[in-house]
């Protein structure tokens, strides 16, 4: 047996590169893809394509360059989409509460997922609710962006969700990145995305998983449909399913973000088209963001602890990022006072001088919906109930 095998082995051919000359651009199962020798390649592992495939940094940089050029030529940018709480909300069946029993009568067929939004995946013991407007969002976004899914869920979950969102496999083919594909467990990176970071936008509900790419990030308001989702984040309030309600399609987060994406896309391709030098989508995003509260001058009243340096507070920084200016004392140029209590000195000054007196939620709303929301919906009233769970923990 063995001697017969040796006869066939080790014939070098003209087709493969000699091991000494080969630059080993990448490896599959620890074998060089060009010459077949056993190698250790330092580079990027593309787990979304195959768990054993790895390509060297130089090769990846080359691809990123050609891919980005080709995508930009087609008047598209890149969009990386998170799944949980961004495009959908999932729950284990055992975490569902009795108030959610009615949902069992409203399940949509998986065969017809293009039209459905609530799915029961019995083989995974899970129920998934797609966020309202998601089908339209994906269809419209796909015309402006090359899209990737990047989730902290595992591969099996990621692929099932991709099937629900993209039944015809037209948006995410081989571009589904899951937890084990990345180099680091609790962080996300753009290593496996073939777009240059100056052309990538990210949609995610969690900021801290993108430590190196905060400038590319559009922060999504979390979608809490199931009771377990609210519990997971420690909120005492009821979820949408318990309230027998849902996010509005035309006024929800996805619709708002789609219009932001349209604006960024338009600015990038139409208005910056004549520009020499590399256009950067991060700068465009910043420009759009600074437009939201342009012209507002904001003073905060008893929203931060008194010894806290006001300029470092997240709410102050959020307002500044949105294009507003902030101050610590009132003056005639101030347009808004943000407070919880209408009885503070600054609050009374606002009411007396016909300035807007709004809750901190007004700034959060602007941050998530990218527009200056009507102040009438955020007026400070006396005996204001405890800050609702919707507000992120920026209010002290």
């Amino acid at each position: 047996f063995c001697s017969l095998i040796l006869y066939f082995a080790e014939t070098s051919s003209s087709a493969s590169v000699s091991k000494n000359e080969c630059a080993h651009p990448g490896s599959f199962g620890k074998l060089c893809v060009r010459c077949g020798a056993q190698v250790e390649v330092a580079g990027v592992s593309f787990g979304n394509i195959h768990k054993e495939i790895l390509f060297g940094n130089a090769e990846v940089a080359r691809w990123r360059d050609t891919d980005t050029k080709s995508v930009l030529c087609r008047r598209k940018l890149y969009l990386v989409l998170d799944l949980d709480h961004t495009l959908l909300n999932s729950t284990h069946l055992k975490h569902m509460v009795p108030e959610e029993d009615y949902l069992n009568n409203q399940i949509d067929s998986i065969q017809d997922c293009q039209n459905g939004s609530l799915f029961r995946l019995s083989f995974m013991n899970m129920m998934t609710k797609l966020r309202p407007y998601v089908h339209t969002f994906l269809k419209e976004a796909s015309q402006m962006f090359e899209m990737y899914i990047y989730t902290m869920g595992d591969k099996a979950y990621a692929l099932e969700m991709a099937k629900l969102l993209d039944p015809r496999n037209e948006y995410f083919h081989a571009k589904v990145i899951s937890r084990n594909d990345g180099a680091q467990r609790h962080q996300k990176s753009l290593d496996m995305v073939l777009g240059d970071e100056s052309a990538v936008l990210i949609l995610d509900d969690t900021e801290h998983v993108w430590p190196s790419h905060r400038d590319n990030l559009i922060l999504m308001e979390r979608y809490h449909f199931f009771a377990s989702s609210c519990q997971q984040f420690g909120f005492g309030c009821h979820s949408l399913s318990q309230l027998k309600s849902d996010e509005s399609e035309p006024e929800g987060a996805l619709a708002a973000v789609l219009s932001v994406l349209r604006r960024v896309h338009h600015l990038f391709f139409n208005e910056l088209a004549g520009q020499t030098g590399r256009r950067d989508v991060r700068q465009v995003l910043n420009t759009v963001r600074k437009d939201v509260l342009k012209g507002c001058r904001i003073v905060f009243s008893r929203v931060f602890p008194s010894k806290f340096p006001a300029e470092s507070h997240p709410l102050w920084k959020m307002a500044v990022n949105l294009g507003a200016t902030c101050a610590t004392e009132v003056d005639p140029t101030v347009t808004h006072v943000v407070a919880m209590d209408p009885g503070t000195k600054k609050s009374r000054w606002a009411l007396e001088n016909d300035k807007f007196l709004v809750l901190p939620r007004w700034i959060d709303g602007a941050n998530y919906l990218w527009q200056r929301l009507p102040e009438e919906n955020f007026l400070v009233k006396s005996n204001e109930p405890k800050a609702e769970a919707k507000v992120k923990d920026s209010v002290v």
Binding site: I5, A9, T11, S14, A15, S16, K30, G36
Partner: protein, 154 residues
């Protein structure tokens, strides 16, 4: 390439399987343990075709288990460097394409007009076996290699 060879394995059997069905139990356990596994030396065990010999059982000290040396015939599959194989394309991307020939996954980094489910003739230029899988690198840049069949043609 496929081979029909004789392999030997020491099978441990729990006393509950003794009795008139001892040999059948031994054979079933062998099939369950061995079919579908991979080794560096023989490659992938596809199927057991027969039992050549079952040796005398040896009772192990301390437990009641008995070890039987079993000689069996089986079909194995092992790819070799330089071998020419026909495979089916499973995935195409900008880095090249993946193809499968039975239990073996082959990656070819040549670019060619190819699509999923095409049949392709390739040459293996490197192989590696780990516990459960065989990885191969292939090439189609040689005479008579390349796409044989498109999935669109029947």
């Amino acid at each position: 390439m496929f081979f029909h060879i004789v392999l030997e394995r020491n099978m441990q059997l729990h006393p509950r399987y003794f009795g008139r069905n001892l040999r059948d139990n031994l054979v079933s356990k062998l099939m369950k343990d061995v079919e579908g596994t991979c080794s560096g030396k023989h490659g992938f065990v596809v199927a057991i075709t027969g039992i050549e010999n079952v040796g005398k059982g040896l009772i192990r000290d301390g437990t009641g288990f008995v070890t039987f040396p079993v000689k069996y015939q089986c079909v194995v599959f092992r790819p070799f460097k330089g071998e020419i194989l026909e495979a089916v394309v499973t995935m195409v991307n900008k880095m090249g394409f993946f193809a499968e020939a039975g239990p073996v996954q082959i990656f070819v980094s040549n670019h060619v007009k190819i699509q999923k489910d095409s049949e392709v003739r390739l040459k293996i230029i490197g192989t590696r076996v780990d516990a459960t899988e065989i990885f191969c690198i292939g090439t189609i840049k040689d005479d008579f290699l390349g796409v044989i069949n498109d999935p669109t043609t029947t």
